[in-house]
Symmetry: C2
Subunit: 340 residues, 2 copies
């Protein structure tokens, strides 16, 4: 009894050949009714469909991938999925490509170059159809090695030199300029900035500087300090700032987590925000509206970035676009809330 029916064949999956035999046709025909790549007679199609249903046939995707050289899988390599920014970005990507039947393979690099390389290689070996690279600002040639000319890559937040990979970059500079101008227009005089670590977040620093210059605010070196993107780093940087002789009356932070650390200091010192000191962040993570008062910040469009990355990828995968690397820049609007 076990040979004849579907449910009774316990562990080996049904193959296309079995369906074909059952329907009294060749495997080719079954394949064609499934893919629709060639016409199949209505009667035959019916018989085949019937057989498929009866046997509970499910195509073996691995075999299909081998033959077609498409995996319908996209790798996204990020520093840490635990970081809300990257989680949202990943979700944006997933939503964008899901409809087309693509899965997303997530790689956490912790920002380590070694792991970035390893995962990139791994993704290539696995035959993913595309990779979106959002880890590290230095999407160097070295990371990718000799890029397989076939599989598209899109870098988020950085522009790779390679002509065949697209880039989506949030407009950090304009956003930061807006933040700076806003603070100046509010009448703050001694405006400081907590930057990212050396070699990181250069655009945010540049935008801020440009705004200060336009507003005729001097920014002495001691008012430009650095943090390591974390809450703790922001806390320490703010501490240093508040110990200055000419205490800043406003602080622009290169990301929200550091801004939250800065607010910790303000609370600790009994300073009221924004009266005694204003704070502006960058990213607009969820936590920005959890802290009190709600954080004024610049929105970093993570979800949209992931989405457009997916679109760029798919336009190349489908062959709809072939050509030199495109760059789409996303606006980063200022969001006024309670801290400035």
């Amino acid at each position: 009894m076990s040979t004849s029916e579907a449910a009774s064949s316990p562990h080996s999956r049904v193959t296309i050949a079995q369906v074909a035999r059952r329907a009294g046709v060749s495997p080719t025909t079954v394949s064609h009714v499934l893919s629709g790549k060639r016409a199949v007679g209505a009667a035959t199609r019916g018989t085949v469909m019937e057989a498929i249903r009866e046997l509970g046939y499910r195509p073996n995707i691995v075999a299909r991938n081998l033959r077609t050289r498409r995996s319908h899988m996209i790798a996204v390599v990020v520093p840490d999925i635990t970081n809300p920014f990257y989680a949202v970005l990943t979700r944006g990507l997933a939503d964008a490509v899901d409809a087309a039947g693509h899965g997303t393979y997530v790689c956490n690099t912790d920002g380590q170059h070694e792991r970035e390389r390893k995962f990139f290689q791994d993704a290539m070996d696995r035959g993913v159809d595309g990779v979106v690279f959002a880890s590290g600002e230095t999407a160097s040639q070295i990371t990718f090695g000799e890029v397989d000319q076939q599989t598209p890559i899109v870098c988020i937040g950085d522009q790779l030199d390679h002509p065949l990979c697209d880039a989506v970059i949030p407009d950090d500079e304009t956003g930061s300029r807006a933040a700076g101008s806003f603070l100046a227009s509010r009448g703050y005089e001694r405006i400081a900035m907590i930057q990212g670590p050396p070699h990181y977040g250069a655009a945010r620093t540049a935008g801020f500087r440009s705004a200060m210059q336009a507003a005729k605010r001097k920014v002495p070196a001691e008012r430009m300090v650095r943090g390591d993107w974390t809450r703790k780093g922001g806390y320490e940087a703010m501490k240093a700032l508040m110990a200055l002789d000419a205490r800043p009356d406003a602080v622009f932070c290169a990301n929200d987590m550091m801004a939250i650390g800065a607010l910790d200091v303000a609370h600790e010192l009994g300073l009221s925000v924004p009266e005694d000191v204003a704070v502006v962040g960058f990213d607009d993570v969820d936590a920005a509206t959890i802290v009190t008062p709600h954080l004024t910040t610049v929105r970093n469009p993570a979800y949209e970035a992931g989405g457009t990355a997916g679109d760029l990828l798919m336009s190349r995968m489908s062959g709809r676009y072939t050509g030199t690397g495109r760059t789409v820049v996303l606006p980063c609007p200022l969001i006024e809330r309670g801290t400035a």
Copy 2:
């Protein structure tokens, strides 16, 4: 600097056959030096390695997967990767299985049954080596259909009836009891609870009730309200609670986001926490230490849950364990902070 051989094959990848030809051996031998499944002479091995290096050979993983019926890929299906709890869980899983060379394929279901099924099917079709299911509390038989007896499944937060799939469940009940007892021991009298939606989070409610009974606190029905896990839901539930004639002096919330919503209400009403009203949450998300005062809560060990899920999976995949479904329960310790 580029190797002349590797670069000369412009777009088609090097196959094992080419390596074999170059080394003057058969593909079989190359495979054996790679896998070590059979002994290979030292000299031959040297020649082969050399050829591999020169040609820049990388094995085609898809082909390997087809033959070996292993994909070294694990699917994790969660409601939403954007939710910090699941992000952390996913990271725990990824870290656990990465060392063994397994990738993680993330599926967002938004809690919709339909998507849960679809992704589960999809994962199976793709030939993943295992799936951890952390979406929905109702990991029903229906979701899985007739489970392929081959590929292991582990459910997080729920115990599936199926005997062959393992479960890791955070001990919600004990944790909630601890929270309840704690509030009682602090002398709060009119203790309320904001539960999850109907049919969800039953264990948390049960633990709380048990604690109330042990502490001889009556909990009238109007003090047991429901939210939908969100901040907004918590806000509204808390509003209702605070409008009661006998206003509660302590509120246990079934998760942190609702607790944060509850705190919003307290602030809005000018009530001081914990003097006027105490609040305790559940989960210990990052935001718990961002809100002021810091949230007293019960820790939900997301990272560990993901990790042990990975371990359970791997022990089955390797054949180290075969047998009926195991259940490991993880403790949820109370973390005292500022709101109670």
